[in-house]
Symmetry: C2
Subunit: 319 residues, 2 copies
């Protein structure tokens, strides 16, 4: 194992988060390069994709992670393997059928949660924990948590159920000061390990993640080339390069280059990464997909979006 | 003038810094869009390009900024106009011929300086100041200043000669803590106004610039879409969007979009922005052009570059 002066664990969720662009199908050779490269990198967990009940329209292999996908991953990878569930789509009674086939392949199951559904998520989490997995809570919309009074009171109930409590910067508008405040907000309620998943709308991915690490975060997310919806995530290569230059991890740059190259080519094709509409959505806690749509379909100019927001916050009706 | 709660001045140097890709020639219509858009944006200074003695190979209009270029800018723009000189190429005796034609067009002349040549730069600055321009010092390699003992003693001599003393993150490897330390280093020597020019190798452009502003910086640089050599700069649209979302400036997003669009297209073509080799060069204070060349021409792998650096710092000869 590479020498590490670092307690923080890194979770790479390229296939899960990036699957948005490829409908969660990935080329077999690309996946092989991915696993083989990461075997040489100081990243502990790889999140492969989702587990889900069947959806109406077609979704690819990494949206369902059927057993053959898990077997392939287990055969190729020496890392801990993870999938994520969308809490809004999964009920506790689905869990035995959905997750029993994953026993022996996966180390962790994460759950993407809207704070409004926290209580329900805890019930789901208990069902998941029963099967012996580590449980991660990816709690979304961290920039709005201060107003979610019910949720704040429920945080302490994660004790004994949840292994990693993640702050997710869903809108990509958080700055380092807010990372610190939110970390404290959680830490004041529970001793559970805290994680951070940043987005790069304001190019705050790295500094926010380093700040979370300084606060004491136990795990942080990255994706290769930041692959992810819209503005995307903190890129794995940026975090690893930064931590290596600070003397905190050893790093095989050749292995890193090997996995970055094919995803860079895909980035030229699919075009993830921030841009002005994503900066605006991030800075104003708006769904980035909506802002991008309004602007590209010429429904609204950015000026009218901002004006409507400003009117809204001043209680003026939108015209 | 747009309402501003903000004392900081912003200098956009897209044409000067981005000219690297276009050999300092720009399409006439693009330049028109640039000036007209910026007339509506809360940016105080526009740096057009260089003034230079004739160079051996061809360089375009914005490398020499001849009078007709300055006249065109003055006619189209309501902003303060700036050019920059490379200190290593200009002697004090060149200044009357080089800069007298600029009187009445330019408000400021900046000088890009290696700290090792600081004393000589002060002589050049005095010649520039005599013509009535504001003088900016863009002092490079801020991450290395602590070791430049002669330079540190000379900083105080800027008094009465230099109007803006810029910290330039030449390698793009600086973090917010270093911005604060370097700011203090300068402030301890002089009361002169301090500026900051960041690079985006580690995607630290925005947070470093916001940190400089918090310290008390009087002026900061940006370029549209971060256009600039290699990893490029803090993008104008990101800084303006961030400051606007904090309630510090009014912002005409339509004008901003209008100037961002054509430069975004150029970005797809020329490909500025960070990547793994630029992250490595930034994190290790190496010239980014060299690292990119070594890697792309397959002279050296990133591993061997890092190993050589590590050997070097441990006093082991490179093999």
């Amino acid at each position: 194992m590479p020498h590490q002066n670092l307690e923080i664990k890194i979770l790479d969720c390229t296939l899960r988060d990036g699957g948005y662009y490829t409908n969660w199908d990935f080329d077999k050779d690309l996946v092989k390069i991915y696993f083989e490269s990461f075997n040489k990198l100081p990243v502990e967990y790889l999140e492969l994709g989702y587990r889900s009940n069947p959806m109406k329209s077609y979704l690819g292999e990494y949206f369902y992670c059927p057993p053959y996908v898990l077997e392939n991953a287990k055969a190729l990878s020496n890392k801990k393997l993870v999938v994520i569930l969308n809490e809004k789509d999964i009920r506790a009674e689905d869990v035995p059928d959905l997750l029993s086939p994953c026993v022996g392949y996966l180390d962790m199951v994460r759950i993407a949660i809207d704070p409004k559904n926290f209580k329900r998520a805890l019930v789901l989490a208990q069902a998941v924990k029963k099967l012996g997995f580590e449980v991660g809570f990816n709690v979304m919309y961290m920039s709005l948590w201060e107003q979610e009074k019910e949720f704040l009171k429920q945080i302490k109930d994660v004790h004994g159920i949840v292994d990693y409590f993640y702050m997710v910067d869903s809108f990509g508008g958080v700055y380092p000061e807010e990372v610190k405040k939110t970390y404290e907000l959680v830490r004041n309620q529970t001793d559970v390990k805290i994680g951070f998943h940043g987005h790069n709308n304001l190019e705050m991915g790295l500094i926010n993640t380093l700040t979370a690490i300084e606060c004491g975060a136990a795990m942080v997310d990255t994706t290769v080339t930041g692959m992810g919806r819209g503005a995307g995530n903190l890129s794995t290569e940026l975090l690893l390069t930064s931590l290596n230059s600070k003397g905190l991890i050893d790093l095989d740059f050749n292995a890193l280059s090997k996995v970055v190259d094919p995803f860079s080519k895909m980035q030229n094709e699919y075009g993830w990464g921030t841009n002005l509409p994503y900066m605006v959505s991030g800075a104003h806690s708006l769904p980035q997909k909506d802002v991008m749509e309004w602007v590209t379909k010429r429904y609204y100019s950015l000026n009218s979006i901002i004006r409507a927001l400003s009117n809204q916050s001043q209680g003026i009706k939108d015209n």
